[in-house]
Amino acid sequence: MLQRVLPLLLFIALAGLLYAGVRLSATRDPNVLPSPLIDRPAPEFNLPTLHAPEQSISRADLLGKPYLLNVWASWCAACRLEHPVIERISAEGKIQVIGFNYKDETADATRWLQQFGDPYAKILVDRDGRSGIEWGVYGAPETFLVDATGVVRFKHVGPLSPDVYREQILPRIGVTP
């Protein structure tokens, strides 16, 4: 009896395993790398600002208040898609949004902001992508949530959506949507 059903059981077990694999890749985007920075202090940086290149902002300057660090560039098409969401988050004022202009030309970045609007409280400039490597950035847009003590709490890869903002970001800064 067992010998008869054993192949069937093995087949069902194998099919179940494969199904679980398919389900796993449906719920999780395999192109999104989990960041090892989560719950660890944000990397040190000291970067010039876009609007006043002679001024620079360091990690220590941003301590005391939680912030979103939004990695964007004028060459990034998905950033344009994301832009209205960033504007709304900024207008709501529940958290300050810091721009991180990644591997961009100052003239292009400024023109982009003039065209679409500037939602950022401050904009850091990482011209050569070196600081981006410290953050584990591998594309744009990416968004980091850093808490008041300078610890990275959350990272989102790709355009930020209102859902991610409401369900992932706001609860982490203790604000009920």
């Binding site: 010998q3 008869r4 989990p34 960041s35 090892p36 490597i133 410290e134 953050w135 594309g139």
Partner: protein, 145 residues
């Protein structure tokens, strides 16, 4: 037409050449070490390519970073640690053995062992039947599989 084809060919190869950014290696040994190291690191943008093969912007940046770390005297392990601290174990084609990767490393061997045990049990049973009857086991439909 032939000229267009030739130009097309040049254009294709030009793309290839651009993917390999020239780095000022100190000697052939350093270049070989660089090639070996980047071949076992995974490009974070295009995960089916190694860092050595990828032409993605971030891969170029990371190669430059690795080259500079190498030139400043860091060991391969230190460079790997540098990358995993920022991009996670994903950058390694050989993930480290730790509790969360035990299944990944040892499940294939466990399945192989289970299969071997299964076959040994099956053969013993057949052998026992053979000894009882003194005949080769009858090949009835039940044992076809």
């Amino acid at each position: 037409m032939r000229l267009a084809g030739l130009l097309m060919l040049f254009w294709l190869y030009a793309g290839q050449a651009l993917a390999i950014d020239p780095l000022p290696f100190a000697d052939a040994a350093q270049e070989q070490r660089f090639r070996d190291l980047t071949a076992e690191l995974r490009c974070v943008m295009c995960q089916n390519q190694s860092l050595a093969d990828s032409g993605a912007g971030i891969a170029v940046d990371l190669r430059r970073e690795i080259f500079e770390l190498m030139s400043s005297g860091r060991s391969d392990d230190e460079i790997k640690t540098f990358l995993t601290e920022r991009y996670g174990d994903f950058v390694l084609y050989n993930p480290p053995i730790k509790p969360s990767t035990l299944l990944l490393w040892f499940a294939p061997f466990a399945i192989l062992l289970a299969g071997a045990i299964f076959i040994v049990v099956l053969l013993r049973r057949r052998g026992a039947r053979f000894a009882q009857t003194g005949n080769a086991p009858v090949n009835d439909s039940r044992e076809d599989w």
